[in-house]
């Protein structure tokens, strides 16, 4: 059986970032396993700019951002096994994988970093009635066709969902000569970044229809059109507002789900809200020595934050291998209170905090001039003013180690994050 100190599943930004960090922290015996034929993950198809402003202080495209890490991985001689599919991971940290060259193989790891990313919600996940013709694509699939493989999915396009990938593809299709008739969004607000609405829709005069959805898909062999309608406050279609739009393609940009089939095989517990593993401050799952980072853990808006998270996971894996990561200690639960949908990490081992812990969260709604209040047993331990919060933009809150102590200087049992509107 092959043996490595660290095995990383996935060569996207999370996996590459973790590999570079672990190497620089002194663990050199690393294997990255990737099912695609080239490293970089989804960044390869994200040819638009806007990546790396935090990480590199310059504006890069997705492939350029990935290339910076690929170059480091190559320079360090870190092994990437491409075209290789991981079939199973055991709780004893044995990875079973298969490729054309070696067949089925088993690899023993001292630590595993899960970095498999996420997948898109397809039509079946949102239950749109109608026929089942050709011409329905998820935004990410269409993006790979247009940006890497050289195919145009259609000429007249309706996009359902205003996530960032949908918005970016609206511009991309337009530049490639297609007509994007509308972007239809169920919610009363866009789930994408404001900058993308401006430069992808407004710049090209593409209408964004908020509080609208697709209620029927028409066409037998190929999409001929869709019927859209406005929705009420309960998101039920208002039938008298129904309107037919002819199109040959429907693009779905209706959300992402962390890809955790392999995590489950190892016995990793998942958070029902994020769809990713439940982790502690070290990005360690409930299985000792198995860590998670990137979109497999929680869906991010910015790759720069994925890189930061990958560093924490890699640092922790290195500490774990060196026997420096404490498995026992005083555990604090981090909970989502009113106005907050989820918090990651969900658990903090007080004895493992170096200086501070960074929490990621998303609000359940749009809030203006509100505070995020962190409470423990009715006592407020921190408060931060937020100009504007929207479910489409992740919130990062750092809490210093001493804030986790109560008045008697004992670590608290739990902390709760809440939105308070002034």
């Amino acid at each position: 059986m092959m043996e490595y100190d660290i095995v990383i599943i996935g060569a996207g930004p999370a996996g590459l970032g973790a590999a570079v960090e672990a190497y620089e922290k002194g663990v050199k015996d690393i294997l990255i396993i990737e099912r695609d034929s080239y490293p970089g993950g989804i960044l390869q198809q994200c040819i638009h700019n806007g990546f790396g402003l935090i990480e590199f202080k310059e504006e890069l495209t997705g492939p350029e951002y990935a290339e910076r890490f690929i170059e480091k991985v190559n320079e360090y001689g870190i092994k990437i096994m491409l075209n290789t599919m991981v079939l199973n991971i055991s709780s004893e940290k044995i990875v079973k994988a298969v490729n054309q060259e070696k067949g089925v193989m088993e690899i023993k790891a001292k630590a595993i970093i899960l970095a498999m990313g996420c997948r898109e919600r397809p039509r079946g996940a949102i239950s749109i009635p109608g026929t089942r013709p050709a011409g329905i694509f998820t935004a990410g699939t269409a993006q790979r066709y247009v940006n890497m493989e050289g195919y145009m999915p259609g000429k007249e396009i309706v996009i359902l969902g205003s996530g960032d990938i949908g918005l970016i593809m609206a511009r991309r299709f337009t530049l490639e000569g297609a007509i994007v008739k509308a972007v239809v969004e169920l919610m009363p607000y866009s789930s994408g970044l404001t900058r993308n609405i401006v430069q992808c829709l407004d710049d090209f005069g593409i209408p964004l229809l908020l509080s609208h959805t697709v209620i029927e898909i028409h066409g037998k062999d190929r999409v001929k059109g869709v019927t859209i309608a406005q929705v009420d406050a309960n998101r039920k279609p208002i039938l008298r507002t129904a309107k037919y739009i002819s199109c040959d393609t429907l693009i779905l940009s209706v959300g992402l789900i962390p890809e955790n089939e392999l995590s489950k095989s190892a016995g990793v517990l998942l958070d029902p809200v994020t769809g990713g593993p439940i982790v502690n401050e070290s990005m360690e799952t409930n299985i000792e020595g198995i860590f998670a980072c990137g979109n497999v853990l929680q869906v991010h808006d910015l790759v720069d934050n994925v890189t930061k998270e990958s560093r924490i996971a890699a640092d922790s894996a290195v500490k774990y291998i060196k026997g420096l990561l404490k498995q026992e200690g005083k555990f604090i639960n981090a909970k989502a209170g009113s106005g907050i949908r989820y918090v990651v990490p969900q658990i903090v081992n007080y004895d493992n905090i170096d200086d501070k812990v960074k929490f990621h969260m998303r609000p359940i709604d749009v809030f203006k001039n509100a505070y995020i209040s962190v409470k423990s047993g009715g006592r407020e331990i921190m408060r931060r003013k937020m100009q504007r919060m929207t479910p489409g933009e992740m919130i990062l809150i750092e809490i210093k180690k001493d804030k986790f102590l109560d008045n008697d200087l004992h670590p608290v049992d739990d902390i709760t994050f809440e939105v308070e509107v002034v």
Partner: protein, 121 residues
């Protein structure tokens, strides 16, 4: 005096900018949190610019396309023309990130560079 509201597109903050314009002159710019926002607001009023990202055809490489971008933002009204010009080009591997694909596109003084590597198949 005319008041124009803009959303800065430089970074994910998406600052809400307010620009006061008198004729063709900018009187004041408020709402930006960094210098890049100030520059964006100036450009957006006087001469809007965008970085173009697209693809060009490739022959004999591991992919049929190479992703490219303009090294600097170019005038917004030239985006479609630039895409058209780039659609006429075919490149061959090996290509490295940063290789110049078209020099001085449409006489803007801006080069178009490759944003991904392409190796021979």
């Amino acid at each position: 005096m005319e008041k124009r509201e803009l959303t800065c597109i430089v970074c994910p903050n998406g600052c809400q900018l307010v620009v006061e314009v008198e004729g063709k002159e900018i009187v004041s710019i408020t709402g930006y949190e960094c210098k890049r926002g100030l520059k964006y607001a100036e450009d957006e009023i006087l001469a809007p610019k965008r970085t173009l990202t697209t693809t060009v055809k490739a022959e004999g490489g591991h992919l049929p396309l190479v992703s490219v971008r303009t090294k600097e933002p170019i005038p917004k009204e030239l985006l479609n023309k630039a895409v058209l010009e780039l659609s006429m080009i075919t490149v061959k591997p090996p290509i490295k990130v940063g290789d110049v694909i078209v020099k001085n596109i449409l006489n803007t003084g801006v080069d178009v560079i490759a944003t991904r590597a392409l190796y021979a198949e």
